[in-house]
């Protein structure tokens, strides 16, 4: 088993940082998706002769510190963006990136990314790698790693704290997400449930939940004409809870109320996403619950619907 000592992690990053830009995502409020789908991104521009072309690609970069939910979200995003048609801009950035995860939890398999450091106690991390990019990085920097039969350390992953903590919430949410088919069934069933009226009142439609969700990827396309007549096309993050999301020229809005738009957010995450990919578009990271100004807790919403579903259906 390949291990790395925590003292060697920073020198390792210094070494791979010589050829790429390093980002540590552990303290970011906005999830890692911003490195692959930036909040605003120029996608096309026109030169003086009128030829349309897309901007140059970014350079190589390394993302470090993704958690288990984030790694899973990345795997799902890769799947979503590669299904026909392939999203050119996402995949172009994805190709340039080396993604490194870190976790205290026990792993049985590689959850996603190129390299994962899994804590095995006493400052040692077991090293998982996947794909050519991950394996080659390890091979070319072998001096930072040690190959051992057994670390000889008895390691117990940290206990999940009881009560209303982020870790506890995330743990329970990930348990719920083990049965995405059930979640799809109950969210679809709950369309006329009173809770959506309630949430429509409570939600202020700010869109924060979608911006901080690692699996919200919807965007709108926007054109600009500069003062010097430079024309370009941008895409920027959109949020399905915002009023103009389904509004067309002429003024008709296909989802005019916040209740409809909020339900659509859930519907996409748990029903449409499940029908398309067999998984909920949620990894239980807890960001939406943590940062919602109206303190909406999606786990509680799902629980409530689930209880009523069992009673009535």
């Amino acid at each position: 088993m390949l291990v790395i000592h925590e003292d060697q992690i920073n020198p390792f990053f210094e070494e791979i940082g010589k050829a790429a830009v390093l980002f540590d995502v552990r303290d970011d409020v906005v999830p890692f998706k911003q490195y692959f789908i930036p909040p605003v991104e120029e996608i096309l521009t026109v030169n003086k002769r009128g030829k349309i072309f897309h901007p140059m690609s970014s350079g190589k970069f390394v993302l470090h510190g993704l958690s288990l939910p984030d790694l899973e979200a990345l795997t799902q995003l890769d799947h979503i963006m590669s299904k026909p048609e392939k999203d050119y801009f996402y995949l172009r950035r994805r190709k340039k990136a080396l993604v490194i995860g870190i976790t205290e939890e026990k792993l049985d398999a590689m959850p996603g990314g190129d390299i994962v450091f899994q804590s095995v106690g006493d400052g040692q991390y077991k090293v998982w790698s996947r794909g050519l990019k991950g394996r080659n990085t390890i091979k070319n920097n072998s001096r930072f790693f040690r190959d051992v039969e057994d670390t000889g350390i008895e390691y117990e992953p940290p206990q999940i704290p009881e009560g209303d903590t982020m870790e506890g919430w995330s743990h329970l949410m990930r348990k719920l997400l083990l049965d995405p088919g059930h979640l799809a069934e109950i969210v679809d069933w709950s369309r006329d449930h009173d809770i959506w009226n309630e949430l429509g009142e409570r939600c202020i439609g700010c869109g924060i939940c979608t911006y901080v969700c690692p699996l919200c990827f919807c965007f709108s396309v926007e054109d600009r004409i500069g003062l010097n007549d430079v024309r370009s096309r941008f895409r920027r993050w959109d949020a399905c809870t915002l009023p103009g999301f389904a509004k067309i020229a002429g003024g008709h809005n296909f989802r005019p109320t916040l209740k409809e738009r909020y339900y659509n957010w859930f519907y996409h995450k748990f029903v449409r996403g499940y029908l398309e990919y067999g998984k909920s578009l949620c990894v239980g990271c807890g960001r939406c619950k943590e940062l919602c100004p109206a303190s909406i807790n999606i786990q509680e919403v799902l629980r409530l619907i689930s209880v009523d579903f069992k009673k009535n259906a």
């Binding site: 521009t45 050119y88 959109d238 067309i248 989802r255 996409h268």
Partner: protein, 273 residues
């Protein structure tokens, strides 16, 4: 890797004023491959047209898919993109992507009677379909086209409708309210149903109208007694990417851009949005 968001340019070869707010743009056909049937697209499919600096929007093709030299789009002045397209002259260029979407299931329609219903500016894909049908007229049953608008001016492309009529397509038009000089039927498209008889067991219905009129069309087509699976509706939604990524055009569990824009009625009957 192919960049799906990169459009190509097409020149406007002719502009025709169809009504005070609607213009027809005839665009040179470049960059659109044809399939085994020598079709450049299937009637009911759409392109995303616009210009850089103004944005883009989806438009169903109006011309016959057999037309090799050009494609036609009808543009109603409503917002920024359509406002720009409306102002274009012969020789200007637009950007195009596509064709996208599924189109009408024309093979399924063979040997059946077809009732097409359309209101206002929902006529383009219907004309395209009808012009496909008259090229293969013997393979289809009786064809009816019910078409309604607010005023006689807004009944678009009367010359093309007359040509369809010459090829054994029954055209029934109506306007919403009495209008000086109009001798035809007055009322909604709904009323025209009573004027035709079809064999509902071997018929299909094709519906295209603006989004808000969707409910009204339930009244138009449902009374025929055609099964929900043989009613084809071309849907309209806000659309940005056209390829199933941006999430704007969803209706229930379907994407209008990739699963549609043509749906059978039973696919969308229970959708809340």
């Amino acid at each position: 890797m192919h960049n799906i968001y990169l459009p190509h340019r097409a020149q406007v070869i002719e502009v025709e004023q169809l009504s005070p707010t609607v213009r027809l743009l005839r665009l040179e056909n470049r960059g659109m491959p044809h399939d085994d049937r020598k079709l450049f697209f299937i009637p009911g499919q759409f392109v995303i047209a616009g210009d850089i600096g103004f944005g883009e929007a989806p438009f169903s093709m109006l011309s016959s898919p057999y037309q090799k030299k050009f494609i036609e789009l009808a543009v109603r002045k409503a917002g920024i993109v359509t406002g720009h397209l409306f102002s274009l002259q012969k020789g200007d260029t637009v950007t195009l992507r596509g064709p996208y979407g599924n189109g009408f299931p024309i093979d399924f329609m063979k040997d059946r009677d077809i009732v097409m219903a359309s209101g206002g500016c929902g006529i383009p894909p219907i004309i395209s379909l009808a012009e496909y049908i008259i090229e293969n007229r013997k393979r289809f049953g009786n064809i009816f086209l019910l078409y309604g608008a607010k005023t006689p001016d807004e009944l678009l492309m009367k010359d093309r409708l007359e040509r369809l009529q010459r090829h054994d397509v029954s055209i029934l038009t109506t306007i919403d309210e009495p209008f000086p000089g109009w001798n035809g039927h007055v009322g909604f498209v709904t009323d025209l149903i009573e004027k035709i008889t079809i064999n509902e067991a071997n018929s299909v219905a094709v519906v295209c109208g603006p989004g808000p009129m969707f409910k009204a069309f339930e009244k138009t087509v449902k009374p025929f007694g055609i099964s929900d699976r043989r009613i084809f509706i071309s849907m309209e939604r806000k659309m940005q990417c056209g390829v199933g990524k941006c999430q704007h055009c969803t209706t229930g569990s379907k994407y209008v851009c990739t699963d549609g824009p043509v749906f059978t009625y039973d696919q969308i009957r229970n959708n809340w949005d």
